[in-house]
């Protein structure tokens, strides 16, 4: 195994979104500058075409390295990981990734619920979950799990979401720590810089 100089991430931020979430990502990611002390995972629903377009698109928006999450990768700070299409992403106790092709959850693979829930078990109160715009309720169960394990919950304000259904379901089901509009989300990302 090659030795890495990048330390394992103590803290993890996961961003989940579906329809209407890409524009938000394109707006907030330019606020990030290296180094970021957290690891960041992006789980978005999309067509299961095996390509790297999303990774390239998001790479162009930030100086933080963006890469597709690979099985057994150690989760390192200052990296943005994209969940590959058609796989669920789980997190092992030793803070490495596992990919999984099991049944779709909420008609989705990757499912936001799966990654939120799995991360909640491992990262506990060092986990922050952000749920963005979308047209189904994937992510809500995962937010509950994160909350139970002491994580921080941020939901995009439904009024500023292109498709408010997903944030609305989240707000109905749990008490979010923050409900942020687009400007506030940008501020949040700007403050992640070390």
């Amino acid at each position: 195994m090659e030795k890495s100089v990048v330390p394992f991430a103590d803290e993890l931020l996961i961003i989940g979104g579906s329809a209407g979430s890409l524009d938000v990502l394109l707006q907030v990611l330019p606020e990030l500058r290296v180094p970021v002390s957290k690891a960041i995972i992006i789980v978005v629903h999309r067509k299961n075409i095996n390509d790297l377009i999303l990774t390239e698109l998001l790479s162009a928006k930030t100086t933080v390295p963006v890469k597709e999450a690979e099985e057994k990768d150690p989760i390192q700070q200052n990296i943005i990981y994209i969940v590959p299409p058609d796989y669920h992403l789980l997190i092992e106790n030793d803070k490495t990734f596992s990919l999984d092709v099991s049944e779709k959850v909420n008609y989705s693979r990757p499912s936001i619920d799966v990654t939120f829930s799995s991360a909640a078990e491992v990262f506990g109160n060092k986990l922050t979950c952000i749920l963005l715009s979308g047209a189904n309720a994937d992510g809500v169960e995962g937010l509950k799990a994160a909350k139970r394990n002491g994580g921080t919950i941020i939901v995009q304000h439904p009024d500023s979401a292109e498709i408010p259904y997903m944030p609305l379901q989240a707000i109905k089901a749990i008490e979010a720590d923050y409900v942020l509009n687009d400007e506030e989300l940008k501020d949040y990302f700007a403050r992640l810089n070390v």
Binding site: E71, E92, N93, S98, D100, S102, E103, S118, E121, A145
Partner: protein, 271 residues
């Protein structure tokens, strides 16, 4: 979501090994834990102790347990461009063999085995091919033995088939009856079905092509290496090893004498 704790998973893993001989020690724990939790909830056990007792003592339930905690999601011509590469670059190189032996390891309900049979049929090679289809779960193999798949999937499979370079119609290969697609007997005739556990069973033949897709992602590095050695022992020189789209032999002990095909598909040739 995860009602089952890490300690519970360890207890079950020990029971499975000691009582039943199924070794899940080197499986990905995150996936196991999630699937065991889901099964515990689905089957409405009042307590973990009762769940564990059932797994320990009820052999019928054991089969259900193993089937449910392992992942059996598959589809025909999954990743169509992978099949296009098989069709264009791999199968033509096998054509000169008197008998073509292919091993589908961890084939689940066999959709990919039938896909391979169709590729061979279209290359006019099926009559001299043998497709060995193995899985840890006897129940999924029973489903494959029938060669009957849900009709509702055929639209997607048909798209996959055409993207993989298929020029006929997928429906030429099956008869629709109620909600089922019954595949032609001629495709199934060359498929040899057997249980095989990649963790504990050894090599049983020599092959020109081994297909094992989305199985190794559930194994840790040590077990992956063990399985790669098993594949290496079971593969002829100049034979091919085909993996899932996120799997690689790159960091394994066998990587030195394998060369990846010249595109990004996960197919390696033993040299």
């Amino acid at each position: 979501m995860f009602i089952i704790k890490d300690e519970d998973v360890e207890l079950l893993i020990n029971d499975l090994l000691e009582i039943h001989g199924y070794d899940f020690t080197n499986y990905s724990k995150a996936s196991l834990k999630r699937r065991i939790s889901n099964l515990f909830i689905t089957d409405r056990f009042p307590s973990f102790a009762e769940f564990r007792y059932k797994v320990r003592t009820d052999n019928d339930y054991l089969l259900r347990f193993v089937e449910q905690v392992t992942v059996n999601v598959t589809e025909m011509f999954r990743d169509p461009l992978f099949y296009k590469t098989l069709r264009e670059e791999v199968i033509p190189n096998l054509a000169a063999r008197p008998i073509i032996r292919i091993w589908h390891a961890g084939c689940s309900t066999g959709e990919e085995v039938y896909s391979m049979a169709i590729l061979l049929k279209e290359a006019n090679l099926l009559h001299k091919s043998l497709l060995y289809a193995t899985d840890i779960n006897p129940s999924v193999l029973e489903k494959m033995r029938k060669g009957i798949f849900p009709l509702s999937q055929m639209k997607q499979y048909s798209e996959n088939y055409h993207t993989s370079g298929g020029t006929s119609s997928l429906s030429d290969y099956y008869t629709a009856q109620y909600e089922w697609a019954i595949f032609n007997k001629s495709l199934g005739e060359k498929i040899v079905i057997s249980t095989h556990n990649l963790v504990s069973d050894s090599s049983f033949n020599e092959f020109q092509l081994i297909v094992c897709r989305n199985v190794l992602i559930y194994f840790d590095k040590d077990l992956q290496n063990k399985v790669f050695r098993l594949f290496d022992q079971s593969l002829e020189t100049l034979g091919y090893l085909a993996l899932g789209s996120k799997e690689t032999i790159k960091f394994s002990s066998i990587t030195a004498h394998y060369r990846q095909l010249g595109n990004k598909e996960k197919i390696w040739r033993k040299v």
